[in-house]
């Protein structure tokens, strides 16, 4: 079955509002779906229009009969939420992490969400080979978060509905990478990269540890590029991260820092 078939006399213009409708209904798949997701993150008008359609279609769900899930569903939700929270709290410096997370949440609540992501074109970023200065995860020291308002970035992970939460304390060498809810597939690791604003090569922020909030110590060459609006990308790599002298794997997610 070929795509555009000669049967159609009346060509319908597929403008952005149309694409948003198709996206909202769930008609898209493959590359088109990916492209729409990228657009959602980078184009506020498109995001607005997607919400517009969602809001109009949502009343249709009232026509769907409700149903009672079995009682174990809540038990499992509760267990997963508790496990995630405990993980975060036992990570490195529980009080600070929790306080910081709560501060970040409050800020996100107040500021609205879409503003949090200034994101470039999806899946088109070509990473340079041979990026060194991989930072070392350091779980021993407590992050100092009292001094300045942190920079936060949310990096939604492809079609999983999950995201990374990255928090950096300005003028420090401390960064928190939260990957709660992510699980390892046993075949890949995910590596986080900073995209310096000056166009210089991407800098590795290390391999993400699924299911944990990790504290990472960054070298000065990296911290000097950290700032409001600094972009992040996440790539899929072999276990252990990007091999030396090879191109990085595909970009699976991206986001940008915003000052809290």
């Amino acid at each position: 079955m070929s795509d555009e078939n000669g049967m159609d006399r009346e060509e319908i213009k597929r403008d952005d509002p149309m694409l948003a409708a198709e996206f909202s209904l769930g008609l898209l798949e493959g590359q088109e779906l990916l492209a729409a997701r990228g657009k959602l993150a980078s184009d506020p008008d498109f995001a607005w229009r997607k919400d517009w359609w969602d809001n109009w279609f949502a009343p249709w769900t009232d026509e769907i009969s409700g149903a009672e899930p079995s009682a174990k569903v809540w038990d499992e939700i509760e267990a997963r939420v508790r496990a995630a929270s405990t993980h975060a709290e036992t990570g490195l410096d529980s009080a600070n992490v929790v306080e910081l997370q709560s501060k970040v949440r409050r800020w996100q609540w107040v500021s609205g969400l879409t503003s949090a992501a200034a994101v470039a074109a999806l899946a088109l970023v070509v990473l340079p080979a041979g990026t060194d200065s991989v930072p070392t995860p350091g779980a021993s020291e407590a992050p100092q978060i009292a001094a300045a308002n942190p920079l936060v970035a949310q990096v939604p992970i492809g079609d999983t509905g999950l995201r990374l939460d990255v928090t950096y304390i300005p003028d420090s060498e401390r960064m928190l990478v939260g990957a709660i809810g992510l699980t390892a597939d046993g075949v890949h690791d995910h590596e986080l990269w900073l995209v310096p604003a000056d166009g210089t090569p991407l800098q590795s922020l290390g391999v993400v540890t699924p299911g944990e909030v990790r504290s990472v110590t960054l070298p000065k060459e990296i911290t000097q590029n950290m700032g409001d609006g600094a972009e992040l990308v996440l790539t899929r790599e072999p276990i252990g991260g990007k091999p030396e002298a090879q191109d990085a794997g595909p970009v699976v997610a991206q986001g940008a820092f915003n000052q809290v």
């Binding site: 070929s2 949502a58 409700g66 569903v73 939700i77």
Partner: protein, 193 residues
Amino acid sequence: MADGPTPASAEAREALKAAMARLAEGDRSALEDIYRATRVKLFGICLRILGDRKEAEDALQDVYVNLWQRADRYDPTRASPISWLATFARNRAIDRLRTGKVRGGAVPVEEAAPLPDQAQLADSLMVDAEQTAQIHTCIEGLDENARGHIRAAFFDGKTYAELAEHADVPLGTMKSWIRRGLQRLRACLEASE
């Protein structure tokens, strides 16, 4: 969890709104309140899209765990909580369909628009009566072909390709039927705003 029906009342909506705000503040107990108030509706949506109880329960779990992790994503200025949650649940169910783990779309297209079961409806939080009326008016204005396929996309999570295959027409034909419908739908909805 075996609470009675959740009335589609203003109080219920306000309570849900408050619980969403608490959740965004990191209050874990808010999640249980939200679950109690919305599980019946959201599970119905997952079940409808996925057509399989086990899959739908897994999807439902993901919905609430994700909600906990990403409560900040909800913007009260853009949508009512129940509207947003219903959309969120439907999207999660469709994501699950698209990952290929599920066969999905167990309900044939012909049955895509069953009459609502009034008894069941009373048990779940409704989205918005006024908006419901308007979308109905506008969708009724479309020709039967476009209407049927747009609804099948919504209720069964069908892609263009699946709809075309089912209707046994070329993909391009299906796209132009639906796009023509969406164009009219948009004009009608915008005129009502």
